[in-house]
Amino acid sequence: MYRSHVLVCGGTGCTSSGTPKILECLNEEINKAGLKNEVAVVQTGCHGLCALGPIVIVYPEATFYSMVKPEDVPEIVNEHLLKGRIVQRLVYDETKTEEGTVTSINETAFYKKQHRVALRNCGVINPENIDEYIATGGYEALGRVLTEYTPDQVIQMITDSGLRGRGGGGFPTGLKWKLARANEADQKYVCCNADEGDPGAFMDRSILEGDPHVVLEAMAIAGYAIGANQGYIYVRAEYPIAVKRLSIAIEQAREYGLLGKNIFGTGFDFDIELRLGAGAFVCGEETALMTSIEGNRGEPRPRPPFPAQKGLFGKPTLLNNVETYANIPQIILNGPEWFASMGTEKSKGTKVFALGGKINNTGLVEIPMGTTLREVVEEIGGGIPNGKKFKAAQTGGPSGGCIPAEHFDIPIDYDNLISIGSMMGSGGLIVMDEDNCMVDIAKFFLEFTVDESCGKCTPCRIGTKRLHEMLDKITQGQGTLEDIDKLEELCYYIKENSLCGLGQSAPNPVLSTIKYFRDEYVSHVVDKKCPAGVCKALLSYVIDPELCKGCTLCARICPNNAISGKVKEAHSIDQSKCVKCGACIEKCRFGAISKR
């Protein structure tokens, strides 16, 4: 029996910032202190505060230590674990109270407004130990479904909950299951989309790393509901920790007979295999994903037929996203009414977002649908650094659009985001401030789609390339007003004529930035200025002769010898040589250099 549990975050973020070394030191120090039989060391999944990693939590006090280094470990062991004295200097600042005590992490601004359903076990249990999952109610939902409900009743519960797909489209999950059940066949499949291609998103990875069994359990429930006995998880090979934990989880579930033949003695068989993807964005598209599982090049194909009719190996197939599955067991256990009580009229439950960009608390947050963007940015996210002003937030990654300040109070849900020209997407949420150039942002996303277009259809292959060229021309100061109109026209053409969702949504970042920030595009083409000061071709660095003291510091730091001038006399910059690196601005102690 242990009197204390030390949880060390083993998510991807913390692992890369030092968890393995910390685990090693902890075990060593605990041994040395003779606490081996009193203190258990547990590796968990992500807590969502990856920027503060590695994270170590000591229970039962629930002390939340952040940015722990291996050198700090002896102090934690000898002070906290042995003598019960909390190591104040390592405690996460937000959990310190004015009276000098430490509060629960759940009381901090970052966590208080969160509501964890899909992430409930992440950072709480050891994902490599099936017993810990079972202790939190794991596999109870599967057991009940198999022994108490008919497949139709299960599908009805999912329908009543109002759950919609978390992979981007927001398709009603219950309806999807119903369609897959309705198609008779000798063989059907259940697939899990763990490709997670949106460059800003990592919620699926965190669920797989922190709570892999929840996905297995949900897939087995789905298998029972639609009449399938084989599942596939398509996960990108770039997620090695997720792949390892999933493999361990599948192994353990088989040993317990929770996967395999005759589960819970009910005669229901279900098994799951992993398929590794090479990490192409288009392979997250459902038809491309299935083609890739079949062992062919991952290219989309026209729909219909839809996967529910002819999917994997030509058989009826159900495909859901990782986060969609992570909600299923809780819906069964707590009832569809419970789930439907959270969220807005047409978007029920919660959504996980990866908060990034110009925001104080970056990380993973799970919020009830209908939370406003303002609450996310100002409260949970802790506001924007350096007192800068909020300009816009990008949701939906390369397929989505931006939400400008005028919609700051919009309750976030599927339909609201679409109505303002963005989309939920898989849940990347990138915050931008006054220093971000919107044309540059659009160009960034187009660069991504040009790279990721599979090339099968022309509107997407050539169209995205042209879009990128036109954006580049504008950022170089060589665009015209006409170009902006042409840009829009091409966007609509690509949206209407591309074969798959990648091409159909690729123009969204361009369209939404033009819609809300047209004046910024106009400044680039008419005034030849980048208002945010980002586009290098439109900037020049100049020295104010009045302020310049001739200290020569800038001339010495300039990498390209663009600055000349005599000691104690005003210096000047040769614009033909300047590469706009900005080094001189930072060096000048008299504020004589500025960007125009």
Partner: protein, 123 residues
């Protein structure tokens, strides 16, 4: 896994262990003074006896933690019992046996063990 009962047995067994990681305000806290003086006077066996017993008996709303020096070194080992909404009770000169008695009488049955409390000792 042949039945739900089998699953539930595993769960019941594991929950005693996992209870340590609960974070809510309704917990009764048993705090053992574990500064150098406490450890020297035998606080560690007290701590271990208490935490083992709490888990063995499956007391879900009770946690056992340590604290630093309480400032009453000559009365060590000291055990404090903090129940939600009630005044703190401080037990002094604890041994593993006495601590288990406190657990049985005070925590489980709700009767303070007067003779071990600090107010009795100091008079």
């Amino acid at each position: 896994m042949k039945s739900l009962e089998e699953l539930r047995a595993i769960r019941a067994n594991m929950q005693a262990q996992m209870g340590l990681r609960k974070e809510d305000g309704n917990q009764t806290r048993i705090v053992v003074g574990m500064a150098t003086c406490g450890i020297a006077s035998g606080a560690r066996p007290v701590l271990v006896a208490l935490s083992d017993a709490v888990q063995e008996k499956g007391l879900k709303n009770v946690t056992v933690t340590q604290t630093g020096c309480i400032g009453l070194c000559k009365y060590e080992p000291i055990v404090e019992v903090i129940e939600p909404g009630k005044e703190k009770v401080t037990y002094v000169k604890m041994t593993p046996e006495k601590a288990l008695e406190v657990l049985e009488k005070h925590i489980i049955r709700g009767q303070i063990v007067k003779e071990y409390t600090i107010s009795e000792m100091i008079g």
